[in-house]
Point group: C2
Amino acid sequence: MIKPDEALRIILEEVKIQPIKEVNLMDSLGYVLAEDVFSDINIPPFNNSAMDGFAVIASDTVGASNNFPCKLKVLGDLAAGNVSDIEIVSGSTLKIMTGAPVPQGADSVIKKEDTTLSGEEVSIYCEAKKGGNIRLAGEDIAEGERVFTISTPLRPQEIGLLASLGKSKVKIFKPPRVAILSTGDELVEIDKPLSPGKIRNSNTYSLTAQVILSGAKPIPLEIARDNMDSTRKLIQKGLEVSDILLTTGGVSMGDYDVVKDVLDDLDAELKFWKVAQKPGMPLAFWCFGEKIIFGLPGNPVSTMICFDEYVRPAISKMMGRKHIFRPEVDAVFEHDLKKKPGRTFFVRVKVRTENGKYYVSLTGPQGSGILKSMSLANGIAIIPAEKTLVKTGDEVNVHLIDLPEDH
Amino acid sequence: MIKPDEALRIILEEVKIQPIKEVNLMDSLGYVLAEDVFSDINIPPFNNSAMDGFAVIASDTVGASNNFPCKLKVLGDLAAGNVSDIEIVSGSTLKIMTGAPVPQGADSVIKKEDTTLSGEEVSIYCEAKKGGNIRLAGEDIAEGERVFTISTPLRPQEIGLLASLGKSKVKIFKPPRVAILSTGDELVEIDKPLSPGKIRNSNTYSLTAQVILSGAKPIPLEIARDNMDSTRKLIQKGLEVSDILLTTGGVSMGDYDVVKDVLDDLDAELKFWKVAQKPGMPLAFWCFGEKIIFGLPGNPVSTMICFDEYVRPAISKMMGRKHIFRPEVDAVFEHDLKKKPGRTFFVRVKVRTENGKYYVSLTGPQGSGILKSMSLANGIAIIPAEKTLVKTGDEVNVHLIDLPEDH
């Protein structure tokens, strides 16, 4: 039996970053860049007006005020998207719209609200500041600048910036395909009636959802039955179509736990079996050529927690992310909790904040079949193996699944 | 010019919760429930073994130890998914696998590791505790229990729990369709070359990404040109296919800002125009029958911030969410910032934590065209209208766009 840290170290050592794939810009949302991005243009591309108003030579307007407006001849009218070949000389101006290129000769823009136009003459009621209301070419991004480095997460603001650079295609790390195989003679599909001794197959659903949120591509398989033939057939199918295979159940001490036997037969390389933790003790991990296989325990809570603590970081690493773990906080524990030494406890907690401090309370009974304890949780508190008692007021480390709602 | 709070109040008063739609369980991830969910079964459905081992009568094992094992006759073998009609009587036991129903007569399970099996006899080396290693029917969820209330967000754990209840279909609030219309003669598509005076259409991309992350359905339209015909045609098309229309640009003081004129012509009801804020002052909002229209300013940063502060909460309300705003924190400002009174500033900041406190620093120049300031940001600091100076060390309110990376 190895420790959770050691299990995670072995997994992360084995997983490799995915190959690179070019996708349409809009399809890159949520992934990270697999390339450095340089700009081949200035942004904005040219000096342009930040206001609707008049392009002027600032020195023409010295002394202008409400009582003593400066009067300039309007040479024309320039809308955004157009270019003017008119040059502004002393005594003249050009009407200009937001975003239009500043014409030659002008060095500032007076906003419309500070003027009145009468025929071909405009009265200006304030002094222009040299450079005022002009956005300079390259003030956001200069030509040749490295705008993003590899591994930058692509959020709406990065998508917008890449669009303005004209990057209609971007390179990302290909999301891994994750096959999901629930095993057990007791499982029935969720839309089928329950007969005696049977339960519904919930793990395929919770895992598929977890895979989707991790950014990878889920491939749910049909249920494998507790015999070598059914399990072998579906494990082989899963390995054919995926980069990662997740199995649930079939890795305990039971006579019908055939996942291990099938993978032995297939010469998969068992990297570890059993981790000193609760829930999730029977967790197993294999390598099979370039593919990796997680043998998740069958209990609904164990499955979800093992995914979150082990599979999710592995997927994040494969996808090129820099931050592969859940955000961590120290929080005040609001119960007394006794345990035997030897195993790390992953305890489902409700996290709340008060005066900038985090507090956590248990989400009820912590049995590894009790999915309600996961549903009420927004965090996993980590109780170290050697601890035998956590007291009300003690600080514990918490992995945040979601932001606290009162945050 | 109205205040940001007032603008938000008007918007939220106008938006209605979307109609209900039934979807496959797996397609409900990320939405919220549009119904209360009750369980029509116990979970687990029957008393079952939490271990691989032997189902016994606890009183049979009194005094059992390593030196003095208790010996019981093994009547059979029960795997998960099966039911046994054997009744356990004193002196007998049934071999049982995790998840299998506890047979009649037995009141506890001894785990395999504490036994040795020899032919039809098993030696048991410890005392059983009545009820030990048995998961009771209904211990997670009782038949008839209300498991979820309306508006519960559907995360992997809720999906898993709904699967175990056999809810293959669930009711959600239909995600609104959001048409996105960028306007401007200066805009070119992102895969086209830039000619003089032109810039690329980035707003359609950043907004589409923001709409996707809000959970709604984006419908990006082609670029509208700065004339009544082109703008009217595309606004009408947008209104036909959407619940919400977003326009960018065309709502300022310029001669070519035709969005307002077109919507006047169409008899859309203008609820407000201009909000005392920076960036995003020209924001406009209309109602048009059951549909709503946001006139977002054309500057890339103004567009994104107006989406985040006004459109996103409106979408969240329409989708039935209880928590419609970004998480808020108080943070220590790490600059001196001077401003004129009168407008609320939405300042792009990088949020970090240190010793449980939040700190924010500006992401560089805050011009409303400078998209880099958004890309470096994970929060928006709100500087109240009346403030003229924020000093290093002052506390400011921050809307968190993302969790701080060091969190």
